[in-house]
């Protein structure tokens, strides 16, 4: 007996549905090959056993729970990727930075205690322009400057601020971004930052913000018993809510799938 024949016949037997008539070629082969005939009987017996088992129905809320968990899982992944979640590496890095900062602070305190020379405090009003350089009188620091505002930039207060320690910070005023620094000779140097790329932060979705709304219904599985017309009945569990393409009855045919159509 040809091994390829046996293999083909067995595959056909396996693929045949319960009760489906086998082809003449297979039946002829089975009459000649005892091994395949035994295999066929075993398969038939197995299929009958499986067919005799009751239908196992998933709980009615299975789809809903699965989708909710998938959505939650996706949301959690987004959080981690976008920086709200803290991994081990992030924690380790943060600890290292803290330690380094502490060491720097300690060294600074020590150096301050030994250094009797007064530190020159740089302060002064910022310039009124975004990109041009303007002279600043370093020896006459104004109260406004110490308070973080400047008479000269009062028309655009959000643009540049000087903090109480005299350190300057840059702020965006919309379209252009500039950074101001004060030199010892009293000049302010402005650097246009719009040409350099900025680090990007992606905010995570507001979980229970305005984009979340109640459906106005609670989950409840509804049962419908149907009779097949031959005396046996069964109960169908119907979900009250479905998302996306899932259907109230999983067995119903899906609507037209234009992308995969092969019939016209």
């Amino acid at each position: 007996m040809n091994k390829t024949d046996c293999r083909n016949v067995r595959r056909e037997i396996e693929e045949a549905a319960t009760g489906e008539l086998l082809t003449t070629r297979v039946r002829e082969h089975l009459s000649r090959c005892a091994s395949c005939a035994t295999f066929g009987d075993e398969q038939q017996e197995l299929k009958n056993m499986v067919a005799g088992l009751g239908t196992v129905e998933a709980p009615a809320d299975f789809d809903f729970k699965l989708r909710a968990r998938l959505a939650a899982s996706r949301s959690a992944r987004r959080d981690v990727l976008s920086g709200n979640g803290f991994g081990i590496r992030s924690v380790a890095f943060a600890t290292l930075v803290l330690l380094l900062g502490f060491a720097v602070l300690m060294m600074d305190v020590r150096s301050r205690s030994t250094d009797s020379a007064p530190a020159a405090r740089a302060s002064g009003p910022a310039s009124e322009s975004n990109s041009r350089t303007a002279p600043v009188n370093e020896n006459k620091p104004s109260e406004e400057a110490r308070a973080g505002t400047s008479p000269t930039n009062s028309s655009n207060p959000s643009h540049v601020q000087t903090n109480p320690s005299g350190r300057q910070v840059a702020k965006s005023n919309g379209s252009s971004l500039s950074q101001f620094t004060v030199a010892r000779n009293g000049q302010v140097k402005a650097t246009d930052l719009s040409a350099s790329p900025a680090p990007v932060l992606r905010p995570t979705e507001t979980r229970m913000g305005s984009s979340v709304f109640p459906l106005g219904t609670s989950y409840q599985s509804l049962k419908v018993s149907v009779d097949d017309g031959r005396g046996s009945s069964r109960t169908i569990s119907l979900p009250t809510v479905s998302f996306g393409s899932s259907r109230v009855l999983a067995r119903n045919p899906a609507p037209v799938n234009a992308g995969l159509r092969d019939s016209w």
Binding site: L193, V200, R202, L215, T217, D227, G244, V248, G259, D262
Partner: protein
Amino acid sequence: MISVKRVRSLKALMLGLVLCVSATAQTLLPVSRTAESQITKPPRPVQVETSAPAPQVVTILHRLNGLKVIRLLLRGNEQFGALANIDEAFQLAGDVHTNVIAGLALSDGQTIAAWLPEAEAELPPPLPFAPAPPTAPAPPGSTRTKSGPAAPMAMPALPPNTFQRSFTAVDVKIVTRDGRNLLGHYMGLDGLTGLSVITLSTSNLAKSADAIEDSIQAGQRVRLIGPEPVSQNERGAKAGIYVRVGETEATVLDVTRTATKTLARVRIKSPKITQANIGAVAVNSSGEPLGIVNAIEGDQASILPVGLVRSAARRVIARQASVPRPWLGVRGEPIGKLTLERILKVGWRGDRARALAEKRQGILLTSVVPGSPAAAAELKPGDVILRVNDEMIQNAEDFSMFLQDATPGSFVNFTVVRPGTAALEAFKIKLADSPEPFFGPIMFDARTAAPPPMLVPGIEAIAIKPRVAARLGATGGLLIVYVQPNSVAFAAGLRLGDVIESVNGESIVTRSASGLVNKNTSTTVVVVRNKKKLTIALPANQ
């Protein structure tokens, strides 16, 4: 024992570390120290990236009452003899199911297209298939003009929507991205794309430009936007079901265009894609819509481009009702995707098969539905359709697009090459409505299955057992789950939700009671409506 050299190198290393820390301290100290030197490399500001909001994506709540769900049960592949029992909470007239899916507001701010999976519940039942009688073969070489099967293939046009609305009362609610709730009017379903078209009474939706089709290319990032449930962990102690609009990122894999350069399909890929993404709206990074996801296969999805979505909406709006798809009655595969072996298997021989495979043009017919327009024109499996209306067919999308341009009932010219003859043959075929206009591919193979018997033409009904009947104030009979609005049954007074208890004095217990109705004489039926008995006379010759 540590050598002196090693101790020295360790000391040097420590010194280096101290210097490094000092240098760092210098840069981090307050301005009092740093002001002495000019900063040339300022710290960079942080830019916060927010995704474009895509306000034209809305959430659709499609609610079904109990009768519609039973209608779906009846039309499904269930062995459905009778309705034996239903839960107390299962109300035939009340909402029992809600489908939540995305919708795309089109540029007029008033029309929405969506892929509603339960659109079938709002449609009439599929009509029984009636094959046309076989015809004598036409002489080879001549142009054959064949019409498709006659009635009852054609899908009956529904009456104006004012009437249909009051009858079927499609419950569609729209939730916009800014939280507004709007009532939608279900206008109909486009059979070609499977999209439902919903309109609003006024232009209430965000108006925005669609993505430029020419700009869509492989590698582009897209976002799939659609509603998703909020899990118990996230909603905390809040009871009930909460919905939010979620996003899935994907990348364009390839773009298929037709011979006329129209965008036919966009394929995208993402490991995060699931079946839940079907129906989602795809937008580009600027928030401009690309189309609607209409198929998922593994980690890939197919997007119906927004141009075709707009065409579908135009078709439905023009008819003010559902539009069946034009039907030829063939199944096939594009030659470009077939191997030479596959072509040889269907009857092609030698050089001709090789030439066909090399040209990679046309659609190889793998089956022809008996009685269909294709069968009436004597198209056969193995034939290759090369051209439609003189336009060369390169792929399945081309073929769909050219047929899409035709309407049911219109004539289309096909150029065909056959395994047995060298010459090209021309066919002029009148397309029919699809016998299953909206759910064709799945039911394509079940065309010979007999439709459920109807007691009276134009109604769909299901037998109910005494426990269900008692809730409706009846003793038993048939529950009407659909009445064709322009049917004799409707004109006679039969209505949705009625229970037909008896016909000509005889009680009804099963659906197959059509023998009780004699078409040549008038019939008297007793129905229970709102727990009250009514007698209705059906005229003869229904």
